[in-house]
Amino acid sequence: MKRAGPHRAPASGVAAFLLAVGAGFLHLCPAPLSAQSVASGYGFGAPLEALGSRALALGGIGMGLTGTELNPQDPAAAADVVLPAIFVTSQTSWADVTEAGQASDFTTTRFPSLGLIYPFAGVGTFMLSFTGVLDQTWRTSEERLLTLEGSGTQARVTDFFQSEGGVSALQVGYARRISPRLAVGVTAGSYIGTLTRTFRRSFDSLEVETDVPDFVVGGTWNYEGFFGTVGATWEVSDIARLSGSFSLGGELEGDPTESTDGARLLVQMPNEYRVGGTVLLAEGLNLSAGVLYADWADAGGDVPGVEGTTVLKLGGGVEFTGARILGKGAALRFGYRNGDLPFRRAGDPEVSESAFTGGLGLNLLEGQDVLLARSDFTLERGSRDAGVFEEDFWRLSVTIRVSGF
């Protein structure tokens, strides 16, 4: 595996590029963080993998990949970064849902990870990231005929419930190579985020014989809590790399705002174990695989009406890095992953997810043997099956990495 020492690159014209990308991410979408699955409604939220597009294309575990990555769950991967870099990932999903015999669809875009890595020669690499953890945005509505007690008046009402927000993580980290074959990394983070849950009952004014304002009840919770991850990367040989990490989930606290009548919530987040590696099969051809294990049983037990499950997620893929497109270095990737989602509604079956993935990496800007700008595109075709619902989705992930500013 090729490594290089930290050094400064000359400033390039990436400032305008960064500005354009940032402006687009910040202003074009009114709801930059939105849900990706109706599974959000069946538990305490759907997990958001804080992975870049490349890791998603190679099986979605993201451990032990070649090169230098910003992956808060594999902190040692950043040990060999030579230039400061910014990572931004965007994901757009298109999903078709079948639930209780009814079909629906939705489209969402989210930005699951933003990150910065900054190497200091002889000291190590520092990391800052903002990533999603649990997505809790979903909604449901039900129209029904209500009999008003006391008068017997029949009133058509629409009950509408919306959950909006989720748990995110702000992390700082440090990675350093401590021997030619061993690098270590650590991150510490804080859970942040806000969840707003609103129930609204709308009355059909004609049937109640007058205009009736909606009944609204709800609340807002702010998340907080601490967690951390340690990891290591071992260069097994010149053709193989192995990485592992342990994440201490810590305690997630949902603190109700002053105007919220709902109770404070404490959730014991699970410890996560990740192992993965990459083997060089041939010149420019890598095989990557990994596994994630986390027991969400305690977390589910802390949330009324929800059960946590044991998540065992497997994924892998191949990457061909010898391609060239428009004169630029490019990589082609294919992968597959399978696993369970961490929550289910009490009494419901577990929610499983699987996906085939394909990806393209483009080296946009190269100079003096260093990569200054890269884009990775991954298209996933997957499904989620919970017995009570089925969800088929396409998901396009785009990661932009810009270095040397």
């Binding site: 590029f17 354009a20 007690e149 007058t210 619902f389």
Partner: protein, 434 residues
């Protein structure tokens, strides 16, 4: 080399824009809703929420109405006479002389004329011909304050008519109005009567319109005085000049008394009813409420979906004062009850058109319940942050004062159809996080 990142950025932005067509995951599984609110309708009797009722009258003047009422023993109760004062006669008119030249002539000889009264056929339900008369009234009168008994009623002057009912007056013409023939009734005048109306040097003569057909009532939109004049420039021709009405009003008898036990709104001058409320903060019944959501039940603005004051109509008393058109009700808070009857009122709780009430509910179909939405008023009373400053007194009135001589009467406290407060309440456990 720098164009490549820019192109990539555009590609990313394009993808982002595609994703901007957001539609959150929407479940059809209703059981996912984490709360189960209960909605209950509660009707409070007057004793449970009412404090006092006060009827006030005298808002506006008959003179403000756009219609004048003429009636004789209408429903055995009402006499009304219209008074009209015409403006100055035209000072000149264009006349074609014998040579064919059109010139302005200022010297006319009045041969006679007509008073044309236009009747509101939309409101008038009579289908049989009516007889009316026109009399010349020599006495001057004050349009804003004239009544059946007095011709002037101001702070420094209160002068009764020589004869009650705007008299004496000299009858000069009568006419029959056939509803099938049109909306105008024409009173023919001779030259001497026209000359009286033209005299501006002394007393201003005016006209009084009386109903001659017993039991009838009409409402008159307006009057015109049409003059047949012979111009000095061409004495062989007759031209018609028009003298429009200057002031009109009407006087009527009897003047209604406020109901001792009821609620009233409308009329001319207009009536208002002031309702002081004392809405409870806690409910301990009825059983339909307690069975569903438990008692005691704390009334809060959040739990109150709807509140309406339900009034029950009854025949207007006297019945001659039943509205002939929809009564537009309005409800406003009384901001400073201590200053009643001249207390300022707050903004309406209804829309700009008020609440239109069918006039028949104050007559043959009396007993109809009329709900008037007062949700925001009750919510303010229940809100701990505004309860101390929120008005607790309502004024029930006509949207326009005055709008018609008729008014709406409703059952008052203690009557079978006494005012009720209809509440739609929804209670729910707090929404929890999960």
């Amino acid at each position: 080399m720098r164009r490549t990142p820019a192109a990539a950025a555009l590609a990313v932005l394009a993808v982002s824009v595609l994703g901007c067509q957001e539609s959150d995951p929407t479940s059809v599984e209703g059981s996912l809703v984490p709360v189960a609110p209960q909605t209950v309708e509660v009707v409070l009797s007057w004793d449970a929420f009412g404090d006092s009722v006060q009827i006030l009258g005298g808002f506006g003047s008959v003179d403000d109405l756009v219609l004048d009422v003429v009636a004789l023993d209408f429903r055995g109760e009402l006499d009304a006479r219209a008074l009209v004062r015409f403006g100055n006669f035209p000072l000149g008119a264009s006349v074609t002389d014998p040579s064919g030249t059109t010139r302005t002539d200022t010297l006319f000889s009045f041969l006679g004329g007509r008073v044309v009264a236009r009747i509101d056929t939309f409101r008038t339900k009579i289908r049989e011909p009516l007889d009316l008369s026109l009399s010349v009234l020599r006495e001057d009168w004050h349009s804003p304050s004239a009544t059946w008994e007095v011709k002037v009623d101001t702070v420094l002057d209160r002068t009764p008519w020589d004869e009650p009912g705007a008299g004496p007056a000299t009858p000069v013409a009568s006419a029959r109005w056939d509803p099938a023939a049109g909306d105008s009734v024409v009173f023919a005048l001779d030259s001497a009567t026209v000359a009286l109306f033209a005299d501006t040097t002394g007393i201003r003569y005016s006209a009084r319109i009386d109903m001659l057909t017993p039991g009838a009532m009409v409402e008159i939109i307006g009057f015109d005085l049409r003059l047949d004049a012979r111009p000095s420039l061409n004495p062989d021709t007759v031209v018609v000049l028009n003298a429009p009405e200057d002031e009109t009003t009407f006087v009527f008898f009897p003047f209604p008394e406020p109901p001792p036990d009821g609620i009233r709104a409308g009329g001319a001058p207009a009536w208002r009813t002031i309702l002081a409320l004392d809405v409870p903060r806690v409910l301990n019944g009825p059983s339909s409420l307690c069975d569903q959501v438990g008692c005691p039940f704390e009334l809060t603005p959040e739990r109150l979906n709807h509140a309406s004051l339900v009034l029950t109509s009854r025949p207007s008393q006297p019945t001659a004062f039943q509205p002939t058109d929809s009564l537009l009700l309005d409800v406003r808070p009384v901001l400073v009850p201590e200053r009643l009857p001249k207390a300022p009122l707050g903004p309406s709780f209804l829309n700009v058109f008020g609440l239109a009430v069918d006039p028949d509910v104050f007559g043959e179909t009396a007993g109809v319940r009329i709900p008037i939405t007062v949700t925001e008023f009750v919510r303010a009373l229940l809100d701990p942050e505004s309860a101390d400053e929120a008005p607790s007194t309502l004024a029930l009135l006509s949207l326009l004062e005055p709008f018609t001589i008729g008014y709406g009467d409703f059952d008052g406290p203690g009557d079978p159809g006494e005012p009720r407060l209809r509440l739609i309440l929804t209670a729910s456990d707090p929404v929890e996080i999960r």
